[in-house]
Symmetry: C2
Subunit: 214 residues, 2 copies
DNA sequence: TTAAATAAGTCAATATGGCTGACGTAAATT
DNA sequence: AATTTACGTCAGCCATATTGACTTATTTAA
C-alpha cells in the first residue's frame, strides 16, 4: 500500500441521482457556505487525537488506560490534592474516579494520606513509581509540543498558551491558571467550585441534595 | 456554596510524616524540576474538555453521543466519503463505527449511496436533517473559537492553525490539510492511508492479514 | 480467467470508562 | 445537636471501544 495514494473515487458530491445537479436543499441564502472556523474545529480534533495517542502503549504495559493517565498526571502535578478537586478537574463522578484510583493505589502508583488539618480528607500523592510513570507518559507529549512549537515563529508559545487558556470555560479559567502556574505553592488549595463551577441554582428547593456531582 | 471559595487545605506537599522535609526520592539532579510544556499539556486538556462539552446537550436530545457527532461532522464536511476513510480519520474499528453509523442511517441523518465508479463503496452523505444537526452542533464550538481568538493579537489565527497542524502526526499532516482546505473538491478523494498510515511492515510475513484495522 | 485484494457488513464476546441511585461513616461546621 | 462535607462503596446500566472470525460483492492483478 503506497504512502500517499489518492484514489480518485467520487466525482459527484451529491447524493441524488447521478445526473442531478448538486444542490443542498436546506442551504438558506444567508447561511454561510461553511461553518466559521471549521478548519480549527477539525485541526483541534486531529491534534488532540494524536496528542493523546502518544502515551497509550506505555499505559497498556501496566494494564492502565487513559483514565489512569489523567489521574496520575494531575496528582503528580498537584501533590496533596483532594479527591474532590480531582473530580472537579476531570468532571467525572466519584464512582468513576473510585475505580481507577483504587487500582492506582493498589498497584502502588498513588498514595493516600489523611489530611493533617482536616482528617476527613485523603490527600493524594504519587509514589516514586507513580511519579516516574507520570513522567514517562508526559514526555512524548512534551516532545510533540516542542516539535510543533519549533516550526512556529518565535513568541508563538505565548499565543498558543493564551489561545488554549481562552478556550477554557470562563468560570474555570482563573482557577486553572492558578493551578497550572502556581508552582511555588504558598499553602494554596485547588478550588473545586472554580475549576468546575456549579450552576447558579435558585435559592431553596435544591435538587442537588444527594448527588455525587458537584 | 460560594462561587469562588479557596479552601486553604494542605500546606505541606509531602506524603511523608508531618514533620519530614519535602524530598522527592527519585528526583535526579539532571531531571528537570517540571516537565517542559507541562502547562501546555494541561491547557490542552482543559481546552479540549470544554470544547467537546459544548454540543453534548443537543446531542442528548437525539439520543446521540459524541461518537455520533464525530461521524456526522466528518460526513457533513466530506460528502460522498467512503466508510474506509471515516475509519481512518476516527481511528476506530469497523465494528465500532458500524453501530453508530447504523443508528444515524436509521434515524435519517446520514444516507448511503453506492459508489458510481466502484460499486462496492457505500458513499456517505448527510440528509438535510443531518446537515442541520451537524451545523447546530458545530456552531457553539465555532463561537467558542471566535471568542477565544478575539482575545488574541491580530494574526494569531494563523499561529494557532499552524500549531495545531504541527501537532498532528507527521504522516497524516498533509492528508489532513488536503481534506480540510480543499473545499472546492476537484474530483478528489480522501486518502485513508495518509490520514492514518499503516506501519511500514517488512515485506512478506504480514501479520495484518485478516485484521479490521487498516 | 482464475486468484487475490478490497469495501463493506455482520455475529459474538469482552473491556473500559462513563453514568445513576442508594447508603454509610467519619469529621467538621453551624 | 443537627447539618454539611469528604470520601467511600455496592449494584446495575450504558456507550463506546476492542478482538476475532466470517460473508458478500466487486474490483484488480497474476
Amino acid at each position: 500500500m503506497a504512502d500517499v495514494n489518492f484514489k480518485t473515487a467520487n466525482p459527484p458530491a451529491s447524493p441524488d441521482g447521478d445526473a442531478t445537479p448538486l444542490t443542498r436543499p436546506e442551504l438558506h441564502p444567508d447561511e454561510p457556505v461553511i461553518t466559521p472556523h471549521c478548519d480549527l474545529i477539525e485541526l483541534l480534533f486531529y491534534a488532540y487525537r494524536d496528542f493523546t495517542s502518544d502515551p497509550d502503549e506505555r499505559l497498556a504495559a501496566f494494564d492502565f488506560g487513559r483514565a489512569h493517565h489523567r489521574v496520575l498526571h494531575f496528582v503528580d502535578r498537584n501533590p496533596g490534592m483532594m479527591v474532590t478537586d480531582l473530580l472537579a478537574i476531570l468532571r467525572i463522578t466519584k464512582q468513576s474516579l473510585g475505580r481507577v484510583l483504587k487500582q492506582l493505589v493498589d498497584k502502588d502508583f498513588i498514595l493516600q494520606k489523611p489530611g493533617p488539618l482536616d482528617r476527613r480528607q485523603r490527600l493524594l500523592y504519587t509514589t516514586p513509581t507513580g511519579h516516574a510513570l507520570a513522567r514517562s507518559l508526559s514526555s512524548p507529549q512534551s516532545e510533540r509540543l516542542s516539535r510543533a512549537l519549533a516550526t512556529l515563529p518565535p513568541g508563538s508559545d505565548d499565543i498558543v498558551r493564551q489561545f488554549l487558556h481562552a478556550m477554557i470555560d470562563e468560570d474555570a479559567r482563573d482557577a486553572v491558571a492558578e493551578m497550572i502556574y502556581n508552582t511555588d505553592r504558598p499553602a494554596r488549595s485547588l478550588s473545586a467550585a472554580a475549576v468546575a463551577p456549579t450552576m447558579a441554582l435558585p435559592e431553596g428547593a435544591d435538587p442537588d441534595r444527594n448527588s455525587d456531582r458537584k
